[in-house]
């Protein structure tokens, strides 16, 4: 009885299995043969021409506003009622605005982790810190030169090694304490030099292995002496806001771990002491950060009144860009900064510009670069005594013709059109077109499969039945990785796979976890081809030294690992690697702008010729501001970490219909 019933149930399931099992076969197919390339509507050159026209049009439509000229230093009545002297303040260059009002912006992703800028590990905390703490100098948003900010002047002495920084008179912290050279000396000689918190600041200021000397001359004067002439030194000062000695000094006398915990995001904001235009008033975890006006800020407007105009600056924490945009439409947010508006968002938003009472600003190409790279490592892992990369593949990846062929086989136009919906630019060089040192002489090139095939032939590769073999008869196949969960990267890699299939290469695409990918590229060197992105710098290419120096921490395409003692050496550096390093060293030590341009041009040229990183595209920075925001004049160079973002002049931003509160 029961036997029959179980038999029957088995039968039922077998029948259902017969129905769906065939569908299983579909699941296990690998990537099928690509259909032959169809004839396209327009000729290739026509399509590429329209593409360049669109790119030029995009570049032309970058928002440009006239350079208002340098800041003026004015004297104002002192904050201290008992003082007999006046304060020296910079005068904002915009129009006079109204006091009061709240500006609401947002950041997406994660909350900032700390108010302690000198301990920041993430971009959000850095951006928040830049609203609260001023720096000695800042990049001029129009010219890209260094403007003194907290300083009154920065002079380079004749020996090119001594920098004299004079502070303005009357600077005060938000708690009334005087801000003077003691704080500057403390910041550099104690916090940064001894490596409290984020020791990268120390690295950027270290010149040829030595930290500069910091000397206090008098209450308002400080001198820095570098061991050798170092041209980017002043721009490195923008990485280090000044810390309040009277608050942080006690902490530096305690073990270093306590510095991490000091002023963490969950502390009482009332204990904060700031020098910038705003100070955190309230933090609601996962929701928002509310900043209040710092009445002791040392900038004034055209009428001599102390800035900032805004009473409150609210940063809403939102999980992703989509929600930000929706809240912006719903007037919950006044402003969307760069990185929020992506390619496909731009068109939709543009349509709603007039009815939505806001304006969009095209701030040109982003400083970041997206690229494809091959693992050119030729060494063995000392722990296993096996090659990091199979010798067969080493030969391909180290063959310049191979890399050039790959670079010419990729259609960057289609990448921009599909992934960025046209709102972006193809990229061929190590510096984004936004950089002041962008090498304009390096010409873009369209997809040219015939050229790629010719290059491969030159190196002995053979194409047989749509399959590519190297000169030893090995089939050309490798794995391509990027971080999972990113639809744009997914799509980019799939397009690369399809493009390279036209050359007969078999590419296995495997998205993996971001953490694992970083581990592979930075430590285990266990990868073949990777597609990723890095941030850049529009003003100082030297900030990318970590990537291009042969022993650099981010020299990923041929990562040298520290030996037992922790030192990194590159005895097998290629000639062109050495030349790039020379360019960086020379550009770092000369103050002659023309020479710096020459050296940075040359390094970009070498990268263009050798293609260790095959650049793909860069995004556009687009912001959107509600029309009630006054004095918003963004520039391509005046962009930093959000939430400060494109508000280089946050102190003079005001709300046009503000109510006094």
């Amino acid at each position: 009885m029961s036997n029959q019933s179980s038999l029957l149930s088995l039968l039922i399931y077998l029948i259902s299995a017969a129905l769906f099992l065939p569908s299983l076969f579909g699941c296990t197919t690998k990537i099928a043969e690509t259909p032959k390339q169809d004839t396209v509507l327009q000729s290739k050159t026509d399509a590429e021409k329209t593409a360049t026209e669109a790119q030029d049009a995009l570049t032309r439509s970058i928002y440009r506003v006239r350079d208002p000229g340098p800041f003026k230093l004015v004297t104002v009545k002192s904050l201290d009622p008992n003082s007999k002297t006046t304060d020296e303040c910079w005068q904002a260059r915009g129009e006079a605005g109204k006091f009061g009002g709240t500006l609401t912006v947002s950041i997406f992703g994660r909350d900032p982790k700390t108010y302690n800028y000198w301990d920041h590990q993430d971009a959000e905390s850095a951006g928040l810190g830049l609203l609260m703490f001023d720096r000695l100098v800042e990049i001029d948003p129009w010219t890209g030169k260094m403007n003194p900010r907290m300083a009154k002047s920065v002079t380079v002495e004749k020996d090119k090694k001594t920098f004299t920084v004079k502070l303005r008179r009357g600077l005060k912290w938000s708690d009334g304490h005087a801000l003077n050279a003691d704080d500057v000396e403390f910041t550099f000689a104690t916090i940064i030099k001894r490596g409290f918190g984020n020791s990268s600041m120390r690295d950027t200021l270290t010149v040829y292995g030595q930290f500069p000397e910091v000397k206090k001359i008098d209450d308002l004067t400080i001198q820095f002496v570098t061991p050798r002439p170092f041209a980017p030194f002043v721009s490195m000062l923008t990485n280090a806001p000044i810390a309040p000695k009277h608050v942080l000094e006690p902490i530096t006398k305690r073990p270093m771990e306590e510095f991490h915990a000091f002023w963490s995001i969950n502390c009482d904001p009332k204990t904060l002491v700031v020098s910038g235009p705003f100070k955190v008033g309230r933090y609601v975890p996962g929701q928002r950060i509310e900043l209040e006006r710092n009445a002791n800020y040392s900038m004034v407007d055209k009428n001599g009144a102390r800035l900032p105009y805004l009473s409150k600056f609210v940063i809403a924490v939102v999980p992703d860009q989509n929600t930000q945009i929706l809240k912006f439409y719903g007037k919950e947010l006044d402003f969307l900064d760069i990185r929020t508006v992506r390619g496909f968002d731009a068109a939709l938003m543009k349509q709603r510009e007039s009815t939505g009472d806001f304006t969009m600003f095209n701030l040109g190409p982003n400083d970041g670069t997206q690229f494809l790279m091959f693992n050119m490592n030729r060494r063995k892992d000392p722990k296993t005594n096996k090659y990091y990369v199979k010798p067969i593949k080493q030969e391909w990846f180290n063959d310049r013709n191979f890399r050039l062929a790959v670079s010419h086989a990729i259609s960057r136009k289609r990448l921009v059109d599909n992934i960025l919906r046209g709102v972006g630019l193809p990229l061929y060089t190590a510096e984004s077109p936004a950089s002041l040192y962008f090498n304009k002489a390096l010409k873009p090139y369209p997809q040219d499969l015939n050229y790629s095939r010719a290059l491969l032939q030159k190196s002995g590769f053979v194409l047989k039945d749509d399959v590519l073999y190297d000169r030893n008869g090995n089939r050309v196949e490798f794995s391509l990785t990027t971080n999972a969960g990113n639809s744009g990267r997914d799509a980019t890699c799939i397009m690369i796979v399809n493009d390279l299939k036209q050359l007969g290469m078999k590419v296995y695409y495997q998205p993996i976890d971001f953490n694992i990918m970083i581990d592979k590229t930075a430590h285990s060197c266990d990868w073949e081809a990777v597609m990723m992105a890095l941030t850049g710098d529009k003003v100082e290419p030297y900030n990318g030294a970590n990537i291009w120096k042969a022993d650099g921490r981010l020299h990923m395409f041929d990562q040298r690992l520290p030996d037992k003692n922790g030192t990194v050496r590159a005895p097998d550096a290629r000639d062109w690697e050495k030349e790039i390093e020379e360019c960086f060293n020379k550009a770092g030590t000369t103050f002659d702008e023309k020479l710096r341009h020459r050296y940075f041009d040359r390094y970009q040229e070498i990268v263009y010729e050798q293609q260790p990183l095959i650049y793909l595209y860069c995004l556009l920075d687009i912001s959107a501001a509600n029309n009630r925001i006054g004095n918003y004049r963004p520039t391509p160079l005046g962009i930093t970490y959000t939430p400060r973002g494109s508000f280089h002049n946050i102190e003079e931003i005001y709300i046009k219909k503000a109510v006094q509160n």
Partner: protein
């Protein structure tokens, strides 16, 4: 559930069960829909104009192709389409897709297209319908890589629909045997085994799922990943079943015929397999029918957040991800919801069949949900 509640399944009962199932209008409709889905999945290559990986990179993100039924004079004719080209306006940031009205491309039925292997065995190139290149018949638009969404829905069905059954084939035997042994053994062994099962049940299932999915090793081909995800899904499913089977076995153990088997001297293991477990069969059948949609849903959920089936493979879950990416534009691109609707319909059908099956097999089995 006591022993008295339980009706042992007889072959007579089975026959009437299947007949009753078919007679119920709702269940019949649901079964037909499901059979249609599975049939489409099995013969996806033939039923769709394009393969899973086919792409026209110049026509990515395209809206559904307009099918014309009237010719230029206004008379009705064979359906045709135009080729579409994409242009970009830098001033408005907008990409527009416009038809080139110069040439008409009729929709061909039973035409030749890309080659494939029917059921993995027979090489063929026949497609139910299609158009000549360079026109593209994107019935519900193309995705970010220029692949046909309509075709990928069929190929996505292959993954999403089969994973339910596969998970079942792994989870159920484990659950039944585990529960059977535990219930039969009783005492200490039963205690320990149930503790472990309880522990697994006590972790919120979705969190456990994403935890497991997140530790999958990176170097895996798509089929390996598919298999591993199936295993993970089963890992969630077996524990609940084991507990209930154990309860039923405990009850059945006391019944007369089992005691009789022991008295006669039948070995214990044989007793479990031959006499006790089949008594649970009706419960198992219904439970299975209701568990399949839960597996399908879990896989969709996983792929939806990017931890399940990965690109370039298609699954309904990861196609729905595109809807999440474009959530602001959903009103203009409502076709992005299509994979979600299909998931919903599949689950609805399975649930309907399961409901009726439960009523039919054992009306007292109301305790299953």
């Amino acid at each position: 559930m006591t022993a008295a509640d339980h009706t042992p399944a007889t072959p007579g009962l089975w026959k009437t069960a299947i007949m009753k199932l078919w007679r119920d209008k709702v269940a019949r409709l649901a079964l037909l829909v499901l059979m249609f889905f599975y049939f489409s999945a099995a013969f996806a290559d033939m039923l769709t104009p394009y393969s899973m990986h086919f792409n026209d990179a110049d026509l990515a993100n395209a809206p559904p192709t307009v099918v014309h039924f009237k010719d230029r004079k206004g008379n009705s004719c064979r359906p045709y389409i135009h080729s579409v080209e994409r242009s970009f306006d830098p001033a408005t940031f907008k990409q527009t897709y416009s038809e080139r009205k110069d040439k008409q491309y009729p929709i061909k039925f039973l035409c030749h297209g890309e080659t494939y292997k029917l059921l993995g065995l027979i090489p063929m190139d026949l497609h139910l319908f299609g158009v000549d290149a360079p026109a593209r018949l994107f019935l519900i638009g193309s995705d970010i890589n220029g692949r046909d969404n309509y075709s990928r829905l069929f190929f996505g069905a292959q993954k999403s629909l089969t994973i339910g059954f596969l998970g079942l084939f792994i989870a159920f035997p484990i659950g039944i045997i585990y529960g059977g042994i535990s219930g039969f053994a009783g005492g200490r062994i039963d205690d320990v085994m149930m503790r472990i099962a309880e522990a697994i049940i006590s972790i919120p299932s979705f969190y456990l799922l994403i935890g497991l999915a997140a530790i999958l090793p990176p170097e895996m081909s798509s089929s390996e990943r598919f298999a591993l995800i199936t295993v993970i899904l089963s890992f969630i499913g077996w524990a609940t079943l084991a507990r209930i089977i154990r309860g039923m076995v405990l009850a059945i153990k006391e019944e007369e015929f089992v005691q009789a088997a022991f008295a006669v001297g039948m070995p214990r293991f044989e007793t479990i397999v031959k006499h006790v477990l089949p008594q649970t069969s009706s419960f198992v059948i219904v439970s299975a029918t209701l568990q399949v949609p839960s597996f399908i849903l879990s896989e969709s959920g996983l792929s939806f957040i990017g931890l399940g089936i990965q690109q370039p493979d298609a699954s309904w879950g990861n196609m729905l991800k595109a809807a999440l990416d474009n959530v602001n534009d959903l009103l203009n691109q409502p076709w992005l919801i299509a994979p979600g609707i299909l998931i919903f319909l599949t689950i609805l059908c399975f649930n309907s069949v399961g409901d009726v099956l439960r009523d039919v097999l054992d009306p007292k089995m109301q305790g299953i949900s």
